[in-house]
């Protein structure tokens, strides 16, 4: 066989191998942007670290000369991350989130924690510590996972918990999603100002504006039932967004607090680190379910200081 024939033959064989192979290019764009921004961040951090190292040498040298002591940085005990910088000046205000493409893997507590870490990092600059979670059942039909981390915003304030609960096959009971009592608030309207529209009237416990919930709204968004509310205990605020998928029974709850722990009065910062809009962006992301992308599974497996609440309970 001549060189030319070999070329044509092998090219034809290669073409057969990959014939029809294609990707979801929209997801590819989203994932590439997200990872590309992280690469840029790492580059900048590397540059900053190099400058800081030079500065540290200078400071150390000066300290040695003057006999001064150093200080210990207040570093998180678990893994930390730096969020994607907002390309627009003035800080990050976007709630647009992206998630990895790739093979879906059964959801676990670790992958849920990795996902939460990733998504919160996209929303805000900051560091995470105290990462943990539980759940995931390889044989289970209705897998439920939980993940929590303590988020310290780069803008300041103490680190406080952010959590997510993914419940597949959640049974809300009769009429939970049919006619919830609550308020539909358009942009610029608020419950406090009395400008929202009261909707529904059955007042069911999970997906409604119960009396113990403040700043509560119930909205329907792309077929989802979305309840956003706060629970106040003095100055402590737990902020929640609770999303229910009536078609699949999937429930996703995301919450943030300004207290040292949820459901306590130990307020340690002015506001919860995540806004209601940010919680909503995470909770309504169409990635949640019985699986998560493989990349998050890998990152979850790599979390060095993950606290397994299931293991503690056994």
């Amino acid at each position: 066989m001549s060189t030319h024939e070999t070329h044509d033959d092998l090219r034809a064989r290669f073409a057969e191998v990959v014939d029809g192979a294609s990707l979801d290019l929209d997801h590819l764009v989203d994932g590439s942007r997200r990872d590309g921004r992280r690469i840029r961040t790492r580059r900048r951090l590397t540059a900053v670290a190099a400058c800081a190292a030079v500065a540290a040498v200078v400071v150390a040298a000066g300290s040695a000369l003057t006999g001064g002591g150093g200080s210990t940085a207040d570093a998180p005990y678990a893994t930390s991350t730096t969020a994607t910088p907002d390309p627009s000046p003035g800080g990050r205000t976007t709630t647009e989130l992206v998630y990895p493409v790739g093979r879906p893997e059964p959801i676990t507590g670790r992958s849920t924690a990795a996902a939460l870490l990733d998504l919160v990092g996209q929303l805000q600059d900051g560091t995470a510590s105290g990462i943990g979670g539980q759940g995931g059942d390889p044989a289970g039909a209705a897998v439920e996972t939980y993940a929590v981390l303590r988020w310290k915003s780069a803008t300041g304030g103490a680190a406080t918990p952010v959590m997510i609960n993914v419940q597949n096959g959640f049974d809300p009971g009769p009429d939970q999603s049919a006619d919830p009592k609550g308020y539909a608030c358009a942009e610029g309207q608020s419950v406090a100002a009395g400008t929202c529209t009261v909707v529904g009237g059955s007042g069911k416990p999970f997906f409604s504006c119960r009396d113990d919930r403040v700043e509560c709204t119930v909205t329907r968004q792309d077929g989802l039932l979305v309840v956003a509310y706060e629970e106040h205990r003095g100055g402590a605020v737990d902020r929640h967004v609770d999303v229910f998928h009536p078609d699949t029974g999937l429930r996703v709850t995301v919450a943030s607090t300004n207290a040292s722990e949820f459901e306590t009065r130990d307020r340690v910062r002015a506001e919860p680190p995540l806004t209601s809009a940010e919680l909503r962006a995470v909770a309504t992301l169409d990635v949640w379910g019985e699986t998560l992308p493989r990349l998050w599974q890998r990152r979850g497996d790599e979390l060095a200081a993950y606290h397994d609440y299931d293991a503690v309970g056994r």
């Binding site: 990959v18 990707l23 590819l28 994932g31 790739g102 493989r294």
Partner: protein, 171 residues
């Protein structure tokens, strides 16, 4: 990065994405690794988009990133993971599974550099000089590797899959 730049990146992905993925598929021999390789490649391109969009030949830049990422990717995986060099179970439309799997199996027996040489020369239609540039090899090395790898590929295919070869010869 402004919105206009992002739109341009989108159109770049739209015009090159599937071809890049197919090249990645031939390099990796595994659908999911190829997905990861493709996304890693475009992430690097996005991170340097200002430079890439001003390059004389952005697709060539993309290809270089792809190959370099593939070579480094494989090095990393060898030290930490066992790659699953398999194509998806789902048969691609219009593809003879035996031919497809046979070729993938043979490709797996080659070194990663030889595999990259073959894919660039025969799939991407890169010249010897261009392939040498892409892989940082001399042109002589590319010729040697091409000949050796192609002979090995043909020998294995002809010996182990005579029906496939005969079918192709009759076609």
């Amino acid at each position: 990065m402004g919105h206009a730049d992002e739109t341009t990146f989108e159109s770049f992905v739209a015009s090159t994405g599937n071809q890049t993925f197919r090249t990645a598929l031939l390099l990796c021999g595994d659908w999911h690794l190829a997905e990861d390789l493709t996304q890693s490649t475009y992430a690097k391109v996005f991170a340097s988009w200002t430079k890439v969009r001003r390059a004389d030949n952005p697709p060539a830049y993309l290809r270089t990133v792809l190959v370099n990422t593939y070579l480094s990717h494989r090095r990393l995986r060898r030290s930490s993971e066992t790659p699953s060099a398999t194509l998806p179970d789902t048969a691609l439309p219009g593809t003879d599974p035996s031919t497809r799997l046979a070729l993938v199996e043979v490709l797996r027996t080659l070194s990663r550099t030889d595999r990259a040489v073959l894919v660039l020369r025969y799939w991407e239609d890169r010249s010897v000089a261009q392939t040498a540039h892409d892989l940082g090899l001399s042109e002589g090395a590319v010729r040697t590797r091409t000949t050796r790898a192609a002979q090995r590929l043909r020998a294995v295919l002809d010996a182990d899959f005579p029906d496939v070869v005969a079918d192709r010869a009759r076609a």
